[in-house]
């Protein structure tokens, strides 16, 4: 049983960032703007958040600061996302190319900045944010063991983001309008919706969540920022497609990918897998092969927004 709890606790460390970042992805894509830059946004958020934690740790520390750092990370993601906004919304550029550029730019830029400011490329900080046991809640059977032991507050943040996303897309006027911009921007415009502004708003929310998710990945999974989020941003793009752009489905998709990723990370601690003697690299390869296999079966009936990746030009309506 301990192995199961251990696995579930470990799995949350992968699932939560994937969930937050993939939900961030749909805020952009539901509005019709491709978000291929999730990896770069995660890196921007993780870098800014780690830097913030490093700068403030001697004055205050603890989970309040972690929460603040998550907000800082979100802001950094948001600022980075403006680059995609300019290229995709203002200049009607090639969205995949600008997204790829962000993915390549941010790791290099953060290395250059970190080297210039602190001398090394790793941004280290005192990692004191693991909560070994939450008072009261950890006593609840099963749930307490999984969610409230060795927990991070980012798990709760992830849950909040999920509920909010479902609510926004289902019940709010903004959510409806955003979807309209992604399905048929000309029709949306004819109803008096400002397409560019709505898309920009979605884009900025997307950047915020992806940046936040970046720090939510680095803090539980690493002791420092070292210009990598282990390809989670790319996995999140796959989660968006596998989750068919629906917040509820994205939860299941994140759980699926998170489970496989966790298996690759912790198989040495699980007796029967460790005894198989298979190559370490076989486990590392599994999440990516699984993604391809899963997409093989889901790609045909894709529910992607009809106008995804298409620039909106007011002249088209004429």
């Amino acid at each position: 049983m301990d192995v199961v709890y251990f696995f579930c606790q470990q799995m949350l460390l992968s699932v939560v960032p994937l969930l937050i970042v993939a939900l961030g992805g749909i805020f952009s894509e539901k509005g019709g703007v491709l978000n291929f830059s999730l990896e770069g946004l995660m890196l921007a958020g993780a870098f800014a958040g780690a830097f913030f934690l490093r700068a403030t740790q001697d004055a205050v520390s603890g989970n309040g600061m972690y929460f603040l750092a998550l907000l800082v990370a979100g802001a950094a993601g948001m600022i980075t996302m403006i680059l995609q906004g300019i290229a995709a919304i203002n200049l009607n550029g090639e969205q995949i190319i600008s997204g790829m550029a962000i993915n390549l730019l941010i790791p290099a830029l953060t290395i250059v900045i970190a080297r210039a400011v602190i001398g090394v490329l790793q941004v280290g900080y005192r990692n004191v944010f693991r909560i070994p046991e939450t008072p009261f809640f950890s006593k609840i059977p099963v749930i307490g063991d999984i969610f409230f032991k060795n927990a991070y507050i980012s798990t709760l943040v992830g849950l909040a983001v999920l509920i909010l996303s479902i609510f926004v897309f289902k019940y709010t006027r903004f959510g409806m309008r955003l979807k309209a911009c992604g399905e048929h921007p000309q029709a949306a415009a004819s109803m008096g919706i400002n397409v560019k502004k709505t898309r920009y708003t979605g884009l900025l929310i997307s950047g915020f969540l992806a940046g936040l998710g970046g720090l939510a990945f680095v803090v539980p999974n690493a002791t420092e920022y070292s210009a990598t989020v282990a390809g989670y941003g790319y996995l999140a793009v796959a989660v968006v497609i596998f989750g068919q752009w629906q917040p509820g489905h994205i939860l299941w998709a994140s759980l699926f990918f998170g489970a496989i990723k966790t298996l690759a990370n912790v198989y040495t601690s699980i007796p029967f897998l460790a005894s198989m003697g298979a190559s370490n690299y076989l486990f590392k390869m599994t999440p990516y092969v699984a993604t391809i296999l899963v997409l093989l079966f889901t790609s045909r009936k894709s529910k992607q927004p009809a106008a995804l990746g298409e620039p909106y030009d007011r002249d088209d309506t004429a």
Partner: protein, 371 residues
């Protein structure tokens, strides 16, 4: 009355001139932003460091070793650029180049190290052909996934990259005679498997690894240009790239175009990987969890050249030139990653380079009217 236009005017108003101008503008913006970052992070040494970046590729005055080094660096960049650009012409954005590159690199090293006894002094040739075959096979698998299973090309490419990387690590680890246990790297490539220098060492000095492969690169770029420009196959591929629906309606097989494009692109990238690692003597491959940067640099090489195979030769040499300069910047205590910042800024501006093209043509039209 229309008078016949002069050749110079015809060129200046042509599509290629627009692409060229757009490329130059994006490069200048990229370099200026690089300079700006240098001025912010290290104001005192910014200018000499930037000069090193721009001139380091020439090496010391009177010695051609810098240029020799640039030509060695350019080989994988040109091949990866060609792998991206060739498929871009058929409308597929090939992000799987890094995986195809690793596959080719591994097959090349494997044949080079373990088959030297069979092929004798032609081992290098057998090795790079093996590299091309392995890269081509990996590209072909990706092509099948895209053409027959409707997989998103981007996701497919990324997943194939990581799968290829870890697959190679797994095979290397289990290859007796190739892998050095406990060190995490392969044996040194034997001399028979090192690509001949073709006299370039007399020109650039023995310290640089410039070799025959740069000529193979150029020949393959011309070959790709020929296919795209002069053959029915190339015509069909371009038609699919411009409008897949219309091409299908005209009886052109979209699937075949994607498959052929990915097969050849994979072979180019694989060859690039093999030629890079067999180009210098004494190289090993160390197992790593990071994708080779050349795969992504290939994207900028292709985009700067607007995917024109002949332009890719020039843009590949240009990026190699910056990389050599970037290595030189380390003597100022600066990180060579600044070069990656500059190339990614260039890629970013390539996303809307048509804006620059548009402005240029507007300007050109106004100048012509005022004549």
């Amino acid at each position: 009355m229309d008078k016949p236009e002069k050749a110079s005017v015809r060129f200046l108003t042509s599509e290629s001139a627009g692409s060229l101008i757009a490329a130059v503008i994006t490069i200048i913006i990229g370099l200026l932003l690089g300079l700006l970052i240098l001025l912010i992070i290290a104001p005192t040494i910014a200018l000499p460091a930037f000069r090193m970046l721009l001139t380091g590729g020439f090496g010391k005055i009177g010695v051609l070793s810098g240029i020799g080094r640039v030509l060695y660096y350019a080989v994988p960049l040109i091949m990866c650029g060609l792998a991206v650009g060739f498929t871009l012409k058929t409308g597929v954005f090939n992000i799987g180049v890094a995986g195809q590159y690793v596959m080719g690199l591994f097959a090349g090293l494997y044949v080079g190290i373990s088959c030297a006894g069979i092929f004798g002094s032609f081992t290098w040739l057998a090795a790079i052909i093996a590299g091309a075959a392995a890269g081509g096979a990996w590209g072909f698998i990706q092509g099948v996934l895209q053409a027959f299973f409707n997989l998103n090309a981007i996701i497919c490419g990324i997943m194939m990259n990581y799968t290829g990387l870890f697959l190679v690590s797994m095979i290397v680890e289990n290859s007796k005679g190739v892998y050095v246990r406990g060190r995490g790297w392969t044996e040194i490539v034997p001399d028979a498997a090192v690509i001949p220098r073709a006299g370039l060492n007399n020109l650039f000095g023995n310290s640089t690894a410039a070799n025959l492969s740069i000529f193979i690169c150029i020949a393959l770029c011309i070959f790709a240009w020929f296919i795209l420009k002069k053959t029915t196959l190339g015509y069909r591929m371009k038609a699919v790239g411009l409008n897949a629906g219309a091409a299908r309606y005209a009886g052109i097989s979209v699937r075949k175009s994607i498959l052929v494009g990915m097969l050849l692109a994979g072979a180019f990238a694989g060859l690039g990987g093999a030629m890079n690692h067999l180009g210098a003597s004494g190289t090993r491959y160390a197992i790593t969890d990071a994708l080779p940067s050349q795969g992504f640099a290939g994207i900028s090489v292709a985009l700067i050249a607007s995917s024109n195979p002949l332009g890719i030769i020039i843009s590949g040499i240009f990026i190699a030139f910056l990389e050599v300069g970037g290595v030189g910047m380390q003597s100022f205590g600066l990180d060579p990653d600044l070069v990656d910042v500059i190339t990614s800024v260039i890629i970013y501006f390539c996303a809307f380079s048509f804006v620059f093209k548009y402005l240029y043509f507007k300007l050109a039209a106004r100048l012509r009217r005022s004549e």
